[in-house]
């Protein structure tokens, strides 16, 4: 049944293309229907299977002579990310309700992207995973290049080339692993169980890890993220930051780390105080956290603030992965969910609620518009989203970042200082953006916007409430997700990682 999330999305895309021209309303409704059904399927599965173990959804022979199978399966980690995909897909469509220009193509590309993302999270066969991973690239390009704003063609092409170079690195690693393991099977379990020689893992691990981490915004390969997010239309920004970056992080955990656990082992010598790939990537992740936060602090463009905040938050995920302890890894997965929701919400406020009404994202110009009076709902939503993003208790961000920090404390005590600094900077940039955009000191007369701004529409309210609710539920009752994540992390799939330095 879970496999239908993919099929429904692709079918929806196909149906949209067959719709008669110029019927934007029908396109919207059809797209929303497809996304809601897919989300409902995911939610049902989540409520029915609370054990978190790997369960096969579909398994059929695909290319028999190469041992490639059409094998879909889901465990606790996949299901959390599938839920995230479902929520973002539905809200993304709600926040794109005002798209009129080539609407059916927009939603067709959108659903194609969503279907492929579902596919990546569900794939058990690595060939299949790679197929879906690459399908994601093309719709991203057209969503940004056709419907985007600031420097859209540049941003789109940059994003595509970064993604494609990353996936080329992944492909080299996967083909090498497949051949070294005897070219008999591409199944994740078979390859993860194969004892690859250590000297092979030591180069294959960084290759595949970086290949995926490019998409997860690892510093210094993050530069596609701010430009891409800024150029993209609202729904595409939400998808990019919400789920596409998670694809990268998911690939790091699911493919790079399970296949090549020995790649994390110490080299036996030190360069600049770094003794293993684990140290290297932990360092890059910390730099990403601090750098992203500091750059976000000085941006003039509202959307760039959120774009760089994504880089910072994704740094937390990668750092959590590098802690290699259970609390850090589970925290990283919860953070994937949490950041997906919150980044989606922030981009929705900036891109849809504010930009589509004011047609500017310049913080200095937004201030005098007195937005907290003009569109109070947007202001309130941003305050709530900002608090969640800072990591205030009661929201998902708090749980996730707390777990990661504890994990980091156990693994690399000194690094915790820098992480703490990143957290403080996180409070600062949100505060600054909030203050400048919504609560700026206005002279005696506020400039009334003309024509007056349309009020916040119902789809927007619905989307915002859905996202905030998701964050609050996870924040108040994190066990909901942890109950499925922890068993998945303790499954035999991660056995190699357990032996290679799990503490």
């Amino acid at each position: 049944m879970l496999a239908w999330t993919i099929y429904i999305s692709f079918l929806g895309a196909l149906l949209l293309l067959l719709l008669p021209k110029g019927n934007a309303a029908a396109a919207r409704v059809l797209a929303l229907l497809a996304a809601v059904v897919a989300f409902a399927i995911t939610l049902t599965y989540f409520l029915e299977h609370r054990s978190g173990e790997m369960l096969t959804v579909t398994d059929a022979s695909w290319v028999p002579s190469l041992g490639i199978r059409y094998h879909l399966a889901a465990d606790g980690i996949s299901i959390v990310l599938l839920l995230l995909t479902g929520i973002i897909a539905v809200t993304g469509i709600l926040f794109s309700w005002n798209i009129e220009h080539r609407a059916k193509e927009f939603f067709a590309f959108y659903l194609l992207l969503i279907g492929a993302v579902y596919g990546v999270f569900l794939s058990y066969d690595l060939f299949l995973l790679f197929v879906f991973y690459e399908i994601v690239i093309i719709p991203k390009y057209f969503l940004i290049a056709i419907w985007g704003s600031t420097r859209r063609e540049y941003g789109a092409m940059k994003l595509v080339l970064y993604s494609f170079i990353g996936s080329a690195m992944v492909l080299i690693g996967l083909i090498a692993a497949y051949v070294v393991a005897g070219a008999k099977s591409m199944a994740l379990g078979d390859l993860a169980g194969f004892p690859f020689p250590a000297h092979f893992q030591i180069w294959a691990f960084p290759l595949v890890f970086v290949g995926f981490a490019i998409l997860a915004g690892l510093w210094p390969f993050h530069t596609w993220a701010p430009t891409g997010h800024v150029a993209a239309p609202t729904a595409a920004s939400m998808l990019l930051a919400g789920v596409v970056m998670k694809l990268g992080a998911y690939g790091c955990l699911r493919v790079a780390m399970t296949l090549f656990p020995l790649g994390l082992a110490p080299w036996g010598f030190h360069i600049l105080g770094l003794g293993s790939w684990r140290d290297v990537f932990a360092l890059l992740a910390v730099i990403g956290i601090v750098y992203g936060a500091l750059v976000a602090l000085v941006q003039k463009d509202f959307k760039f603030v959120i774009g760089y905040s994504s880089v910072s938050h994704m740094g937390f995920i990668l750092l959590g992965l590098m802690t290699l302890n259970q609390i850090g890894l589970s925290g990283a997965v919860v953070q994937m969910f949490s950041h997906g929701i919150l980044a989606g919400l922030l981009f929705a406020v900036v891109g849809r609620m504010v930009y589509d009404r004011t047609h500017t994202r310049d913080l200095a110009t937004l201030g005098p518009m007195n937005l907290n009076k003009a569109i109070p709902f947007a202001a309130v939503t941003f305050v709530v989203a900002g608090m969640a993003s800072m990591g205030l208790p009661g929201f998902s961000g708090f749980v996730a970042e707390l777990m990661i920090v504890i994990g980091v404390w156990r693994a690399f005590p000194i690094v915790t200082i820098f992480v703490g600094f990143g957290l403080v900077a996180g409070v600062a940039y949100i505060w600054r953006a909030m203050q400048k955009a919504f609560f700026a000191e206005v002279g005696h007369e506020a400039i009334p916007p003309h024509p007056p701004m349309p009020p916040i529409s119902i789809p927007e309210r619905l989307g915002a409430v859905l996202l905030i609710a998701a964050s609050v539920v996870v924040g108040i009752y994190p066990q909901l997700l942890l109950n499925v994540i922890v068993p998945a992390l303790n499954s035999p799939l991660f056995a190699g990682l357990h032996q290679g330095g799990w503490r």
Partner: protein, 507 residues
Amino acid sequence: MNATNYAQLFQFALPEVIVVVTALIALAVDLLFLRASSTRLRFTIAAILGSLGCAGAILRLLHSPEQASLLNGMLLANPLTHLVQIALLAVAISTLLISAGSTFTEHIGEFVLLILIATAGMMFLVGSQDLLVIFISLELLSLSLYILTAFDKSSAQSSEAALKYFLFGGMSAAFLLFGFSLLYGFSNSTSLPRIADAIHAAYASNPHLNPLLAIAIVTTVIGFGFKVAAFPFHFWAPDVYQGAPAPSAAFIASGSKVASFFIFFQVMVVGFAGAEGSARWLHFVPGWVAVLAIVAALSMVLGNLVAIVQSHVRRLLAYSAIAHAGYMLLALVAHTQQSLAALLYYVVTYALATLGAFGVVAIVEQRTGGDRLSDFDGLSRLSPVLSACMFIFLLSLAGIPPLAGFFGKFYLFVSVLDSGPGLLWLIVLAIAMSAVSLYYYLQVLKRIYVANPAAEVANASAQAATIRTPFLSQAGIILLAAGIVILGCAPHLLLEWIHAAIRASGI
């Protein structure tokens, strides 16, 4: 030779005979009955006749004896050659369908005749293991292609391209013949297995590469490298792709590639067995594998990098063809059974995608009169179906799943890596370069989907919407696109067939 032998020969060459007879019938029908009709009608009838003939030949191939060899391998038939011949006939049918709407010439019967004669040449080419027959059928193919290139008499570009093609082709044929004559002198035979025996004997007496053999290897690689448009023998390709009438260019880019790559593989692997050398990283050993590894690497780099700066779609396709020739040469470098299967899968799916792309280019040219990137502006608004097909063709060429081009690349790289250690550097280079290639394919797709139609086209959009895309061409293009999607989603359909044929033929 007695009479029964001739009957046997006729039986044996029946598919080729069918094709040639069809060619003559098409010519006769066109010249005798249709002189007064419109170009479009004449083209449609000739294309249908030709396609029927090719279909007949395919049927005959499907029902002909499994294994046969005449005159010591001068002509041979096995499941593998049948497979390749069927692929060639399918390419010929597609070419005829695409050309059905063309208006570039009055000499329609002759055009179809030449396409079919070239097809017959290719069929003989792939069904032989004898240098003489290989050379003669290669010349039959080449001469037909030269004329096809020059077929647009009203275009100076077409004649110029044909002349360049002819001069380069003549020279490379001379090189090839020179290499073949050296091989004959070396082994006293024109049969590939015999030559391999002689090479083995030579290596047994002296472990180093025989200088005579070295020259033969280089000249043979030059000759075939020209046919497959590999760097540095590619100079004809951009001009021919641009100057030739679109159907001719499509045929040169697809059919001739399939046949040449197959026979290139046969000549090198069967004929030069024993003189492989090695292309392992830091362990180069002189031999044809080493030569081909260098040619492949240079083709990939040059083709992809130069394609980036092209402003004409046809030239862009030409440079991308050079890059693809580089990838396909990797299969020769690996020279295993598996890599032959990968090569066949790759070259067949590549031929489909290229044919389709040229088909779309041809239609766009009829509308806008050129193949500049800007001529494709906003095509998706004017003709969504054609744009979707072009989307599929170009992304398949770029190697995006789930299209056939991706699986072709994947399987090719796996087979090369599986063939032995030390070839990883070629794979890394190939994958890095295919990341580059996405950039220029997207440049075309950006024009189609993102850019807005030019103003005068938008004004005339009512008329543009009703532009008459000939039914046969459109059907051909849609079939090709469907083929690419199906082969990409279910690669085993073709792959199992190729594997079975290779096993049955025992190569």
